[in-house]
């Protein structure tokens, strides 16, 4: 046997086989730690199947499946050799048993039946099985062979590989062809063994041939012999003619030509009806199997592979941060400082929704500072506040909006223009509003204490009118 390089690299089918084994392993045991394998696969590139195969090979090497695959190969080869030897020798034995030691004449009909009978029955069963499909197709011998291979592969990885192989081949409908090839090979070898045994015995021993019947006529047998012998005859095998047949039946014919004709007829029948069909079927099954197996692709639509594809062939990859945050650049945290203000209490609405009615019902003496949204409104409001700083300033905001540097900055600037300032969160004060907390945070950073942030309209307006009481 040709020893390959120690780095046994699996062939096309074996790589898929390995992938299927890994899939089964992960289905049973949960995902394997595959960060390295995934990295390798992504580096290798190619189609999803390529990547799955690269990953499987990397994981297989780690999990010992690659070694098991090599072992499996060896075991299978060894098993095949054992079975082949058994088949050859049993074929030889059958020939020996059927022809005997030459002390008694050979009954040609019995001999042919003994040599080909079981084979023909087996062939018919196989054909029926193939015709009707079904899982039992593939031949009993093939099944036995599979069982034997499973028996010989006892360790965990080997069992897994066995299952993976069966699953993979069954999925592609190839098992029956594989089993068929094995069945036909075994029969082919057995029949070759028988043929070899017959040739050897015919060479070394002198046999007499006869036939017996109780109810059939000699003519019938002559016709049978001629019919069966027609095809071998085309290939140059001698066929006993009618007179020889009849003479053989009546008594033992010791004529040399007749004996040779009988021997050649037997050999021809075994060759043409046994060896040749089995050989052709074996070659056919094998070729078909090999070709289909070579075209075998992983079923990438399987959920397991789809999940894998997200990591092997992601829909996106991160580029990373291209323009980093320079952190702590002074994020203007304007602490609000109070000037001495004596102007009228003022209420201002900052970035309110257009549908929000304004102003609120305010007490006598309170000034409506208006809504403030765009640049000009901001400027005007700030100018008014700077000109006449109010004693109390109430800034109304909508807590459903997000606080941002812009509006917080404005609040900071305005509050600096008043002796005392409160923020009134008009809407969105329900505790399930996530932005409420952001307002509280932002305002706290500006220096507002929690009592300076008011959520209730009545309280806000009361403070504006009368201050803290």
């Amino acid at each position: 046997m040709l020893k390959q390089t120690p780095e046994h690299s699996p062939d096309r089918f074996e790589r898929r086989w390995l992938a299927e084994a890994i899939r089964l392993l992960e289905a049973g045991r949960g995902p394997l730690a595959d960060a390295d394998a995934v990295r390798m696969a992504r580096l290798a590139g190619g189609t999803l199947e390529d990547r799955v195969l690269v990953r499987a090979q990397a994981l297989g090497a780690r999990e010992g499946l690659l070694d098991a695959l090599r072992d499996w190969r060896g075991i299978e080869r060894l098993g095949l050799i054992v079975v082949a030897l058994l088949a050859l020798s049993s074929g030889f034995g059958v020939a020996l048993g059927v022809l005997g030691d030459g002390s008694r004449p050979v009954n040609v009909v019995w001999a042919l039946g003994g040599l080909l009978g079981l084979h023909v029955v087996g062939l018919v069963v196989w054909l029926i099985g193939m015709w009707f499909g079904g899982r039992d197709a593939g031949g009993l011998l093939g099944k036995a062979w599979q069982w034997l291979a499973r028996r010989m592969a006892r360790s965990g990885p080997a069992v897994l590989l066995g299952r993976a192989r069966t699953d993979l081949l069954a999925g592609a409908g190839l098992n029956r062809w594989a089993l068929g090839a094995v069945t036909h090979l075994v029969w082919l070898l057995a029949l070759l063994g028988a043929l070899a045994g017959m040739v050897l015995l015919f060479m070394l021993r002198g046999y007499q041939f006869t036939w017996e019947t109780t109810i059939l006529s000699g003519d019938f047998l002559a016709r049978l012999v001629a019919t069966l012998g027609w095809l071998p005859g085309m290939l140059g095998f001698e066929v006993p003619d009618a007179t020889t047949v009849k003479a053989s039946g009546a008594g033992m014919l010791a004529v040399e030509e007749a004996r040779r004709a009988w021997a050649q007829w037997l050999l021809g029948c075994v060759l043409v009806y046994g060896v040749v069909p089995r050989g052709l079927l074996w070659a056919g099954c094998r070729t078909w199997f090999r070709r289909q197996r070579a075209a075998l692709a992983l079923d990438l639509g399987m959920p397991d592979y789809l999940v894998l594809s997200d990591r092997l062939m992601p829909a996106s990859e991160r580029i990373g941060v291209t323009d980093p945050d320079h952190a702590d650049t002074a994020r203007a945290a304007n602490r609000h400082t109070h000037v001495a203000g004596a102007g009228a209490p003022t209420v201002i609405g900052i970035e309110l929704r257009p549908e929000r009615s304004w102003p609120p019902t305010i007490a006598e003496g309170v000034v409506d500072g208006g809504r403030v949204d765009d640049r000009i409104q901001r400027k005007e409001a700030l100018a008014r506040l700077a000109a006449q700083p109010p004693a109390r300033l109430l800034l109304a905001c909508d807590a459903r909006l997000s606080p941002d540097r812009g509006n917080l900055g404005l609040i900071g600037e305005m509050s600096a223009c008043a002796a005392d300032c409160r923020v009134w969160l008009m809407d969105g004060t329900a505790p399930d509003n996530p932005r409420l907390a952001h307002w509280m945070d932002g305002l706290a950073r500006l220096g507002f204490e929690s009592h300076e942030i008011i959520g209730d309209e009545g309280r806000a307006l009361a403070w504006l009118a009368h201050g803290d009481e």
Partner: protein, 471 residues
């Protein structure tokens, strides 16, 4: 056009917008990367520019850049206006992009306006921008100023209305305001529960804005569609496998009522575990962790989904017709198989099983016949439970398909699924699974054979048909 269609890929798109409008969420949904960046309801969560490539057929077609939120556009626009005006007085006329570029050289672009500067710089470096809008917000002056600033970058801008499915969303005002600024192409894209076609429409609109890059978007659309179909098919396969296994499950009980009750309990437990396994597999398929489920409130952990599978009320709530076994309160109905007549399996099934299955099936028949004669009972899972399992799993599949990877808020209940599973005959593959206890992995190892896989595939196809009919 002189510029060839095969222009440089990837196309660069900047995601811009006011702070806290869901730019990173959109990023996550488009990249299918639920771990991208950081998402919270807190404003200015993202303070840097971070990119991701969208890949289809092994080629990076599009680069998306997530930018910090604009926070103080009013002050910034004023600053730039002042700058442009000052330059004009010195005799230099700066147009939009030139004004922006000049501003970016100022120290303020590294200081007070650092966040905004990053946005503008990125938009200038990109082929187009997606302007993400929180449709729940009113249109304010700051938004208009923001759009004015972005407009000065002279890049095609596609407004994306986020949170449009929220009841507070004011889509009309936004559309009107955007139209006034000349932005007529607007897309609705709810990052929490994107509509079925949202992504395709988004890329389609970008393709019209960037005609030279049309092929990149078209290829991306095709690839994403293939992927969606494959994922749905795989999901249906997972569900079919569960249904086949549960339908095939068959337990023989020898003994009295007490033992039967214990066996029913055991079987219920196994079915529950199997359903959970299917749910986990579906979550994995749609790239949701069980962690995501906990934080993201997927249907399984709240409300109806937590209902006991075998509670008759659960069946009723899904409007599944109660069969004999379930009506009696027993979930795993006693399979009162009239074995001798072979009636319960259906003559066709029996013949089919014999033709396809051969000896193994016949042997099971023999065993069961013997058990029957010895007075044993056989437990199978009731049809009503199978219907419920199918409905729940299909509903979950639909929910997962519709759920964006940005979703942080509770799950929105999907509309009722097709009626086909509630009543009427169950698919034939389920019937044939009943005849193959060895197909079930509920109790130990199962036999994976071509017939089983065929049954699973056939059922998956059928689920797909029901699913698409219900859509």
């Amino acid at each position: 056009m002189a510029m060839s269609d095969e222009r440089r890929f990837p196309v660069r798109i900047a995601l811009v917008g006011h702070t806290n409008t869901g730019k990173t969420s959109l990023m996550r949904t488009l990249t299918r990367d639920g771990r991208f960046g950081e998402v919270s309801s807190r404003p200015s969560t993202t303070r840097h520019v971070e990119g991701a490539r969208l890949i289809a057929d092994n080629e990076a077609l599009i680069e998306l850049y997530d930018t910090p939120g604009m926070e103080d556009p009013v002050a910034l626009l004023e600053r730039i206006d002042t700058l442009v005006e000052a330059e004009r007085q010195l005799g230099e006329i700066l147009d939009g992009p030139a004004g922006i570029a000049r501003f970016l050289t100022l120290p303020e672009a590294e200081g007070r306006f650092e966040q905004e500067a990053k946005v503008l710089r990125q938009l200038l470096a990109s082929d187009a921008g997606l302007y993400v809008v929180d449709a729940r917000d009113p249109v304010l002056a700051k938004h208009r100023d923001e759009l004015a600033l972005l407009g000065r970058c002279a890049r095609p801008l596609l407004p994306v209305l986020n949170f449009v499915r929220d009841p507070e969303a004011d889509e009309a005002s936004w559309r009107e305001a955007l139209a006034r600024l000349g932005l007529h192409a607007v897309i609705r894209f709810d990052t929490v529960a994107p509509e079925r076609d949202a992504e395709r429409l988004l890329y389609g609109k970008l393709a019209t804005l960037l005609d030279a890059c049309r092929s990149a978007f078209e290829r991306l659309i095709a690839s994403r569609e293939r992927e969606t179909i494959a994922r749905r098919g795989a999901g249906e396969h997972l569900i079919a496998e569960m249904l086949i296994e549960v339908a095939a499950c068959r337990v023989r009980v020898e003994g009295d009522v007490v033992e039967i009750a214990a066996a029913v309990d055991g079987m219920n437990q196994r079915v529950r575990v199997r359903e959970q396994a299917c749910v986990d597999a579906l979550l994995g398929l749609y790239r949701f962790d069980r962690d995501d489920v906990e934080t993201g409130d997927l249907p399984l952990i709240e409300g109806r989904w937590e209902d006991d599978l075998f509670n008759p009320e659960t069946l009723r709530s899904m409007r599944v017709k109660l069969g004999g076994g379930a009506a009696a309160g027993a979930a795993a109905g006693l399979g009162l198989d009239l074995m001798v007549g072979g009636l319960s399996l259906g003559v066709a099934t029996a013949i089919g099983a014999l033709a396809g299955g051969g000896w193994q099936t016949l042997r099971h028949y023999g065993d069961r016949l013997r058990g029957k004669l010895a007075g044993h009972h056989e437990l199978t899972v009731d049809d009503a439970i199978l219907r419920l399992l199918a409905l729940r799993a299909l509903e979950l599949l639909r929910a997962l398909e519709a759920r964006g990877h940005a979703a942080m808020t509770p799950f929105v209940q999907a509309p009722a699924t097709s009626a086909s599973w509630r009543e009427g005959a169950l698919p034939r593959s389920i019937e044939s699974a009943r005849a193959h206890p060895e197909w079930s992995g509920l109790f130990g190892a199962m036999v994976r054979e071509p017939e089983r896989e065929q049954a699973v595939s056939a059922l998956a196809d059928e689920l797909g048909r029901f699913g698409s009919a219900g859509r």
